[in-house]
């Protein structure tokens, strides 16, 4: 049975693109469109991986990541932040929040995402 990924992304267009990338390597994807919805979803039905945007309504991705990493139910779920914010401060904020990787949304994003999934053991 395919592993399930929770994608937290407020842009429906970008969510569809990332979902397509993840499904192309055999993963099942469910989408939450804001931080609180993502946290609730992760706690109620822990996924194998969370892919998280930074710019989200209500609660940003850094806060979502910290909350996931502090909750005993979700703390061991790998979190990959996939974001347009690629500067030094944003990267450090993501890593300090406990993200397992911080990937800018550029032309290499899909490749880096898949490479990290392999590294984390999500993909063989």
């Amino acid at each position: 049975m395919a592993l399930e990924v929770l994608l937290v992304e407020d842009s429906k267009t970008q969510a569809a693109q990332i979902k397509e990338t993840l499904e192309s390597v055999g993963l099942r994807v469910r989408v939450a469109y804001d931080g609180p919805e993502g946290i609730k979803d992760a706690i109620e039905n822990p996924p194998a991986l969370v892919v998280l945007d930074v710019k989200l309504p209500t609660m940003d991705g850094f806060q979502v990541c910290r909350r996931l990493k502090r909750n005993p139910i979700t703390q061991d779920i790998p979190v990959i932040m996939l974001t347009e914010k690629s500067g030094p401060q944003a990267t450090m904020s993501g890593l300090r929040a406990g993200a397992d990787d911080y990937i800018p949304k550029d032309i290499f994003a899909s490749e880096h995402l898949i490479s990290t999934l392999q590294e984390l053991g999500i993909l063989e």
């Binding site: 609660m59 806060q63 030094p88 993501g94 397992d100 990787d101 911080y102 032309i107 490479s115 590294e119």
Partner: protein
């Protein structure tokens, strides 16, 4: 092409990217991730290294001239690391202390050490060591939305 040098012993991988336009920043970031992967850095450390390399690429791009950014493995005793380096002729005549303060301010904790060496032209060397355990600390939940 300028020679690749280092305060430490060089080891593979040895990669160089010519930075001429904004697209090259993405290529530097990608190359840094690949080099870090070859050396065995974790995904989180790769993110750190690639951001540091991209930040240096952004800086050199602002000078208006093309520059080479080198990404290569280094060894210091038992430590293995990745070096990001570039010649920086635009820094000739600028106080090294001021350069270091500016770089540290820009790069924060992304790299373990930064060195500016020589004068004709000065070279920037940044290193992240594989064997060093880094503690990113913890931030409060009350961060301002960014």
């Amino acid at each position: 092409m300028n020679d690749i040098t280092s305060p430490y012993h060089l080891r593979p991988p040895i990669m160089t990217v010519k930075v001429e336009d904004a697209m090259d920043i993405m290529i530097v970031r990608d190359t840094a991730r690949r080099a870090a992967s070859l050396l065995g850095f974790s995904p989180a450390r790769r993110a750190q290294l690639s951001t540091a390399a991209a930040t240096l690429a952004e800086l050199v791009l602002k000078t208006g001239d093309s520059h080479l950014i080198h990404l290569n493995g280094v060894i210091d005793g038992i430590k293995v690391g990745l070096q990001i380096s570039s010649e920086t002729p635009w820094l000739a005549g600028v106080s090294i202390n001021n350069v270091m303060v500016a770089l540290r301010s820009k790069l924060g904790d992304l790299v373990d050490d930064i060195q500016v060496v020589g004068k004709e032209p000065p070279k920037i060397f940044m290193h992240v060591w594989l064997n060093e355990v880094r503690n990113f600390g913890d931030e409060d939940d009350d961060d301002v939305q960014s």
